[in-house]
């Protein structure tokens, strides 16, 4: 290993974790379950979403195992349909949507703004309880026999033709929606009202900007999902006929409502991840993010455009050709801000002083995979091409590149980056680099073959498939195994590091954010005295100056 690292740990012989911090402030399970502290709630979220991630991941493993052979031989068709439904519902509503905002966002936004907590600590706790209720309800439906609507709840299949636990699951997703609305609301109010003196909008870290954009989407989009689910429930129980063509309803209306939320939901999932990447790239390049304003505004642009592209999920569904034109054009426009971000991050590296610690490796993984995910989205936004590719494995590969290759990489980058701040201890560097590389290789092996399968025409959600698709499916399953190892590793060594990790000190990365200027783990009140922001975000000269004056700020 070269010595090229910015890692700057205190002398391990003398360093200790600060006695007083948010973890040691109170003791006992109740002190966690009734806490108002955003950092503790973030940790509750981190534990719960990890739990659900591994449940959703187990379903993914079972799906890939079944698809190892063309014949439907591992489980029955109904069971297989429940596998991919539960995989989708758990991963989207219980992992991806809350992943970065509810854990890292919850922990960091108040600290980054120089505030003591979020604007509404009790609502914050409530949103975790809502999340847990939703999780328990979804698990209940799973125990009662599962559900096989697909995560999209498409009518009239979900309303008239299935007798699985549609209602229970819908209730779960409905509740999870409120959890996400409350989180979004809390973030918006906090960002507007609780910034420290001197913390102007354009001095905020880009992580805050992207969470702000995602919060707007959560607050405005999620109610529509709730409405759609209520209508499905009423249609199923009372037969009100909003979606039933024999009663004069329109079955396509459901899809309009559903995608009006679920397309912006994609940006709810990815925007906070983009925020993580901005922080990581800046820190390990020792430079301000190239074109700060462009990156900040592109988040807002994505949030705004994101509301007007939903019908690109419905190009082959008999929407009018002309509305398809408009939605295709808007889809092309929403791709541009993402391209802008990628180039801005790449040029942040230019003339920097780069080091390649684990978060940076994950961030590089994100850049590559998100570029592929984004550009394959252009295939699907291009009307004619969409006819052939939609509803095939191409689309499965595309959104996994964005959601897993993009978002999960960003999430892991963020977890590793802020782990020393959250716990006060370092993760093992060598093992974590290995995990980043294994994840990247496993991911590509899993999902690249699926693009080819999609162009060959293999439909998604197929329990059995024609013989000629087997080789590519075997490759994909092999990749999924590697990927599984890549995700198990961090789980194990992060848990290990809680006790045995090196003591991190206040600012192991020598980063500029306000969160790095306080002790790790932070005090319950974050800042003993209200900080005053007198410099731009990512001002490394200010940091160098500060360190010169204060000496080595060892915790």
């Amino acid at each position: 290993m070269s010595t090229a690292t910015i890692l700057h740990l205190p002398n391990q012989a003398t360093a200790t974790i600060p006695k007083k911090n948010y973890i040691t402030a109170e003791h006992g399970l109740l002190s966690w379950l009734l806490t108002g502290d955003h950092k503790r709630i973030a940790m509750l979220y981190l534990i719960s979403i990890t739990f659900f991630f591994f449940i959703g991941g187990a379903f993914a493993g079972l799906i890939r195992l079944e698809l190892l052979t063309p014949q439907p031989d591992l489980v029955s068709s109904d069971t297989y349909n429940k596998f991919f439904t539960m995989h989708g519902i758990i991963m989207i509503f219980l992992f991806l949507v809350p992943s970065v905002p509810a854990t890292l966002g919850n922990f960091l936004i108040p600290v980054m703004l120089g505030a003591k907590d979020l604007a509404f600590p009790k609502i914050n706790l409530l949103s975790w309880y809502l999340y847990m209720t939703a999780g328990v309800v979804v698990l209940t439906s799973l125990v009662m026999g599962g559900v096989d609507t697909g995560w999209t709840f498409t009518t009239p299949l979900s309303t008239h033709y299935l007798n699985t636990n549609v209602m229970t699951t819908a209730v779960g997703v409905f509740i999870a929606g409120f959890s996400s609305i409350f989180t979004g609301l809390n973030f918006i109010v906090t960002i507007h009202r609780m910034r420290a003196p001197g913390m102007t909008w354009f001095r905020m870290p880009l992580f805050v900007w992207s969470n702000y954009a995602a919060s707007i989407l959560m607050v405005l989009g999620t109610p529509v999902l709730a409405i759609a689910l209520v209508l499905v429930a009423l249609e199923r129980t009372l037969g009100i006929g909003v979606f039933d063509p024999t009663k004069g309803g329109d079955p396509l209306l459901f899809q309009h409502l559903f995608w009006f939320y679920s397309h912006p939901a994609v940006y709810i999932m990815i925007l906070p991840g983009m925020g993580v990447i901005s922080e990581v790239i800046s820190t390990f390049s020792r430079k301000r993010v190239f074109g700060y304003t462009a990156v900040a505004f592109s988040s807002v642009a994505i949030a705004l455009f994101g509301f007007f592209v939903w019908a690109h999920h419905m190009f082959i569904m008999g929407v009018s050709n002309y509305s398809a034109l408009v939605f295709s054009l808007l889809t092309m426009l929403v791709a541009v801000p993402s391209a802008i971000k990628i180039f801005n991050w790449a040029f942040t590296l230019q003339k920097g002083s780069l080091t390649f610690e684990t978060p940076m490796l994950y961030a590089f993984g994100f850049m590559g995979l998100f570029t592929i995910g984004g550009l394959t989205g252009v295939f699907l936004g291009s009307l004619g091409m969409d006819i052939h590719l939609t509803e095939t494995y191409f689309i499965v590969a595309h959104f996994h590149f964005v959601m897993v290759g993009g978002m999960l990489m960003a999430f892991l980058a963020g977890v590793h980056f802020w782990w020393p701040k959250m716990t006060g201890r370092m993760y093992p560097e060598g093992l974590s680099k290995l995990a980043a590389v294994v994840t990247f290789i496993g991911f590509n092996l899993t999902f690249l073959p699926q693009f080819i399968l999609g162009y060959l025409g293999m439909p998604r959600r197929y329990h059995a498939y024609p013989q000629e698709f087997q080789v590519l499916n075997v490759l994909s399953t092999a990749g999924a195994t590697v990927l599984g190892v890549g995700y198990m590793l961090p789980m194990i060594y992060l848990a290990w590091s809680l006790k045995y990790g090196a003591i991190a000190g206040n600012n192991p990365w020598q980063a500029t954010g306000l969160e790095w200027q306080i002790q790790s783990p932070p005090l319950t009140e974050n800042f003993p005295i209200t900080p005053i922001m007198d410099h731009e975000a990512y001002d490394y000269e200010w940091l160098a100056h500060k360190m010169e004056q204060e000496g080595n700020d060892v915790g």
Binding site: T154, F343, L375, L383
Partner: protein, 346 residues
């Protein structure tokens, strides 16, 4: 400089023989593949560009080489470059994709029509000549074929990857797609919209025949009754002819030659009479009353299957005059008048 035709042929053959690329069996397939290769090139170049930037900067500006970072705020020129160039490329994708979309979803006027009914979990193809197929479809080469499709229950989606066409099959609404097959052979039909338990069993085969073989197949596999003939029977047995008799005193509008015409409704709006309109007018007549007629027609919702509706639509479509309707009418009227004549109160 250009690739020799022999080499080109070899490349195309090799690609098709490999398991990585689907056969091109329709006239639209080469167009689709051209756009695909353009998009693929865009993606590969994009990934190479991003990868090259990351790699180059990682090597040039790693800490060993460049211990102190130089601060750069940004550059409006660069920002503009990577806003405008991607936008331009994406707009090309938009226009190209839109042209292809309109090509695939606007059938030529001379297309032959085949009806497809989707239901859990099978495809039923109904040819106007009276050939009925399940999970199979026979089509000739060199002739545009339009599929008029409807679902009897949930959303399905009719996909033939080797033709590069696909369209959602919707409950309660006709949707259409067309193709012109080029190469005889058999190709997969997939249902691509998740539709319940046996979703992955809702597959079939489309058999492409040369025009001669197709002719032979049509003769050998007809049920003996064309769809229009089935429709005519239904028309009589449902009593449609008692109002739609085509006489001056008829209580319902004349249906001969109505297909393809513009109709004015009592609401004042003008509609084009096509398959979808005829189907809706049978199921939901009160919404579709022709100007000058009273809204007396009852709904047939729940009384006719989708197959029956297709038969009726096909009958009305091909009805040149009312001669046969009126012939039928007299028979059925003689049935009705018989009890009256035997002393019943009229």
């Amino acid at each position: 400089m250009h690739i020799s035709p022999v080499l080109w042929q070899f490349l195309v053959k090799w690609l098709h023989a490999s398991a990585l690329f689907p056969a091109e069996a329709s006239t639209i397939a080469p167009w689709m593949d051209a756009l695909y290769f353009f998009l693929l090139a865009m993606t590969v170049l994009g990934v190479i560009l991003v990868g090259a930037l990351l790699a180059a900067f990682s090597i040039m500006y790693r800490k060993e080489k460049n211990p102190v970072a130089t601060h750069i705020e940004g550059s409006t020129l660069l920002e503009a470059t990577w806003t405008i160039i991607p936008l331009a490329i994406f707009l090309v994708c938009f226009v190209w994709g839109a042209l292809l979309y309109f090509r695939i979803y606007n059938p030529p006027v001379n297309a032959m029509n085949i009806y497809v009914v989707g239901k859990q979990w099978m495809w039923k193809a109904e040819h106007p000549g009276g050939q009925h197929e399940i999970n199979a479809l026979h089509v000739p080469t060199g002739k545009p074929v339009q599929l008029t499709m409807i679902s009897q229950d949930v959303f399905h989606s009719f996909s033939i990857p080797d033709f590069r066409v696909k369209r959602e099959v919707i409950p309660g609404r006709y949707s259409t797609v067309w193709f012109e097959a080029t190469t005889p052979g058999t190709y997969h039909i997939f249902c691509t919209q998740y539709c319940g338990t046996q979703h992955s069993g809702m597959i079939g085969e489309v058999t492409v025949l040369t025009p001669d073989d197709y002719e032979k197949w049509t003769k050998e596999s007809t049920s003996g009754m064309s769809l229009a003939q089935n429709g005519e029977r239904l028309f009589a047995s449902m009593g449609c002819n008692s109002c739609h008799s085509g006489t001056a005193a008829a209580r319902g509008p004349n249906l001969a030659g109505v297909y393809g015409s513009k109709l004015t409704l009592t609401s004042g709006s003008q509609v084009l009479v096509n398959d979808a309109y005829l189907r809706d007018a049978i199921l939901n007549p009160s919404q579709h009353v022709t100007a000058g007629f009273a809204p007396i027609m009852p709904t047939y919702q729940g009384q006719i299957s989708e197959d029956g509706l297709i038969d009726l639509v096909e009958f009305i479509k091909t009805m040149p005059n009312n001669y046969r309707v009126q012939q039928t009418l007299m028979t059925s009227q003689s049935d009705q008048t018989a009890p009256a004549a035997s002393g019943m109160v009229k």
